[in-house]
């Protein structure tokens, strides 16, 4: 990972920038949303592999910074939503795609299903993913 950051730096012009855009673990919120508004149903559980990936990414950038390759210009958090029409579709997706990273606990799934069933007909379910974007300036060597 650190080698890749050096390789990227090699291909950047002297005034170039590196954008690090990625989700960060924070027990993402599960919500039911409709034309009437949204309600929180609970939170996903971060699995160890996902937490380890985050730690490795932050560590790599710290290492690149300490070696004088990049200097942080700015950083911002924002939400990135995944939407499904039904709770069962959300559950299926998580079991197929996020099985190593996030766990949808049974109580959260039941609460989501309950809120969705009693909400307006246009209700959908969503996960609020915490995103981090960091802009790094290439440092002159």
């Amino acid at each position: 990972m650190v080698h890749a950051l050096d390789e990227i730096r090699r291909t950047l012009k002297p005034n170039g920038i590196l954008i690090d855009l990625r989700p960060v673990e924070s027990n993402w919120s599960v919500e039911v949303v409709s034309s009437a508004g949204w309600q929180a149903a609970g939170r996903l559980s971060d699995l160890p592999a996902a937490v380890a990936d985050d730690e490795a990414a932050f560590k790599a950038m710290r290492e690149a910074e300490s070696r004088g390759w990049y200097i942080k210009r700015e950083e911002e958090e924002f939400a990135f939503f995944y939407y499904w029409d039904t709770p069962s579709e959300m559950k299926e997706f998580m079991e197929d795609e996020w099985e190593d990273f996030e766990k949808l606990e049974e109580d959260v799934y039941k609460k989501t299903s309950s809120l969705w069933a009693s909400a307006n007909a246009d209700a959908r379910v969503r996960v609020r993913v915490k995103m981090l974007i960091t802009i790094w300036d290439k440092r002159w060597s």
Partner: protein, 98 residues
């Protein structure tokens, strides 16, 4: 399954708020199917998307808008060995890939 990702466009809005892509050369690492690529590449002078997943790259290539086909390119590669000479790009994006 009717999965929708970021229909509000928060990712695109945040990216364009912080970075000006106009006439820039951009290297995107982890471009996948080009979901993010096509949201900024129109303004760039050159965009190269890397990903080790060749199936995803085929989709990116197929979905590439006609107006971008001359200056947007996809390749099966990783950031550990970038086949470009030094000081080629203005912007590098680690797209969900660090």
């Amino acid at each position: 399954m009717t999965l929708q990702k970021d229909p509000e466009g928060f990712e695109q809005k945040t990216l364009h708020k912080l970075v000006n892509f106009k006439d820039k050369g951009v290297l995107e690492i982890g471009c996948g199917e080009g979901r993010l690529t096509f949201k900024y590449a129109a303004a760039s002078s050159l965009t190269v998307g890397f990903d080790p997943d060749h199936d995803a790259l085929r989709i990116a290539q197929a979905d590439s808008p006609h107006t971008m086909q001359k200056h947007v390119h996809f390749a099966g590669a990783s950031a550990s060995n970038i086949p470009f000479s030094k000081e080629t790009f203005d912007i590098a994006i680690l797209a969900w890939s660090l």
